[in-house]
């Protein structure tokens, strides 16, 4: 009995650790968001952890040494909320709090915020190191989708 419980607990932990959605896959249809980068970026995939560090500006370089230039959607965007929960592992409000600390202690400033997917795409296309996220139905406009591992 104890062994069954241990196996069940292990399975539950494994499901919790690895079974959660790494992509914002809606029940049916397109994902809630996709991560996009400049077409010149040689990366085709990135660790979730790398993206978290990049959007919080803890890391500033892609593996090819290009400067990472993250772009956010505005705080009330449901797409941002989903991205924030799943990739940054914190709520948009918590991210705002993080940036309050960084801004006023002189450490850094947050990524630029854009109202629409099109503006994010435009920003990403403008910078070789650009990275953003847009809704799954957005016109990607020549940007490249990055697979989140």
């Amino acid at each position: 009995m104890r062994r069954v419980a241990a196996i069940a607990l292990t399975l539950a932990l494994l499901l919790t650790a690895f079974g959660g959605p790494l992509f914002a896959q809606s029940p049916a249809g397109p994902p809630v968001y996709v991560v996009v980068v400049h077409p010149n970026n040689p990366a085709t995939s990135a660790d979730r952890q790398f993206l978290e560090d990049a959007f919080l500006k803890k890391v500033t370089r892609w593996p090819n040494d290009e400067v990472v230039r993250p772009a956010d959607l505005v705080a009330n965007s449901p797409v941002r909320r989903k991205f924030s929960d799943e990739v940054l592992h914190r709520s948009v409000d918590a991210v705002k709090g993080y940036w309050q600390q960084r801004i006023f202690s002189g450490r850094d400033v947050p990524p630029p915020e854009f109202e629409t997917d099109d503006e994010v795409v435009k920003f990403v296309l403008k910078h070789d190191g650009g990275v953003g996220y847009v809704s799954g139905t957005a016109n990607l406009g020549g940007t490249k989708v990055l697979v989140v591992k």
Partner: protein
């Protein structure tokens, strides 16, 4: 005569706060573009007994204001510069004298190695860098045992240089580290809490570091900070001039866990202070006094607009003398933070205090701490606008 409240600036900040999170002069890639952020706070302090942080708080005091504005600019991909102007009024300190809170040139060679020079916030413990940033935390007052407002000038920022970095350790989490050295420039007249007249004040050196480990457990970080400095002062006691040298070593061990809407934090700290006096009869020579400081804190985001918080903080100014009201300060605090919108907040906070070690005699008619009320309460109201 300076204005007693930064009302004009406060209103001005509210007016220029745009729906975006910052004002930016020019587009990001323009050579002349600058990021601008600002905040303004007005607080109110009321105590049931004993004046705390300001004069006459037993009748209520509005001498609890802060205002700041900063400008940052990426000069190149690796080089950044920034400056923050700050003014405050907290009881006898500040008086709205604007000064540079921080300014720096920052060159980030790699993510694991950056260099800053200028006046930079001191990375001591988890929250020292945000000690004067109301919008970046839940409580009005951070736990005063570890982050004392009355020692703000000695702890908040240093002028010198800093090495910093951030390194991922694969499955072992990440390290966030800082090493710094420099000095603190102090206005001798700012030491209003001293019972002596300070003629000269100098910090010949200050050095320290902080290491934070972001553990593999998401949201858990632990770390330690160490700081060493020496305070040299020339004091006038009655008609006698005395010079003192006080080497100080302080360290703090820190732990913070953030999970979903919950934040838990705890820190433990010890401060070691010695002093050599040119005239021990007038100013005592102290072999070493060790103070002990600790707190545990929790906050929870109950709603987008509401965050309650609570902490318990304890201070022993001298670990060898823990008995008596003047030798201890218990502080149980509860806070409600209301985010009215993304640029304006309001806080309500109550403190239940036991002990008088956190009080200043000069705010209480120079009465000895042993003569002040043992058990007392504090009510704090504060509103902050920021962008």
């Amino acid at each position: 005569m300076p204005p007693r409240r930064p009302v004009t600036l406060f209103v001005g900040l509210m007016l220029i706060a745009s729906p975006a999170s910052a004002a930016e002069l020019g587009s990001e890639d323009d050579l002349l573009s600058v990021d601008i952020h600002a905040f303004a706070s007005q607080g109110f302090i009321l105590t049931s007994a004993n004046n705390y942080l300001a004069n006459d708080t037993t009748h209520g005091s509005f001498q609890f204001s802060e205002v700041g504005i900063n400008f940052t600019k990426n000069i190149t991909e690796k080089l950044r510069t920034g400056i923050q102007l700050f003014a405050q009024d907290l009881g006898p300190t500040g008086n709205y004298n604007a000064k540079m809170d921080w300014f720096y040139l920052d060159y980030r060679f790699k993510d694991w190695l950056g260099f800053r020079a200028g006046r930079v916030k001191i990375p001591f413990g988890l929250y020292n860098e945000i000690n004067d940033i109301d919008s970046a935390r839940v409580p009005v007052l951070l736990p005063q045992s570890v982050y004392p407002e009355q020692d703000r000038n000695y702890l908040l920022a240093q002028t010198g240089a800093e090495l910093y970095g951030y390194q991922r350790l694969q499955s072992l989490g990440a390290l966030d580290y800082r090493l710094y050295g420099g000095t603190i420039f102090l206005d001798a007249t700012a030491s209003a809490g001293s019972p002596f007249q300070v003629e000269n004040f100098n910090v010949p050196y200050l050095a320290g570091g902080r290491l934070l480990w972001e553990t593999p457990l998401d949201g858990l970080r632990v770390g330690g900070s160490l700081q060493m400095l020496r305070l040299d002062a020339t004091l006038l006691v009655n008609t006698t001039t005395v010079t003192i040298r006080a080497p100080v070593t302080i360290w703090v061990g820190s732990m913070e866990y953030v999970h979903n809407r919950l934040l838990l934090a705890a820190e433990y700290s010890r401060w070691y202070v010695k002093s050599d006096s040119s005239d021990p009869m007038v100013f005592p020579q102290v072999s070493e006094i060790v103070s002990e400081r600790a707190y545990g804190m929790a906050s929870y985001r109950a709603a987008k607009w509401l965050q309650p918080g609570v902490y318990y903080s304890i201070l022993f100014p001298d670990v060898d003398h823990r008995v008596g009201r003047a030798n201890i300060q218990h502080d149980v605090a509860t806070t409600l933070r209301f985010d009215i919108n993304s640029h304006w907040l309001f806080k309500l906070e109550g403190h239940f205090m036991s002990g008088t070690a956190g009080l200043a005699s000069n705010l209480n008619d120079n009465a000895p701490l042993t003569a002040l009320q043992r058990n007392w309460e504090v009510l704090l109201l504060k509103t902050t606008a920021y962008f």
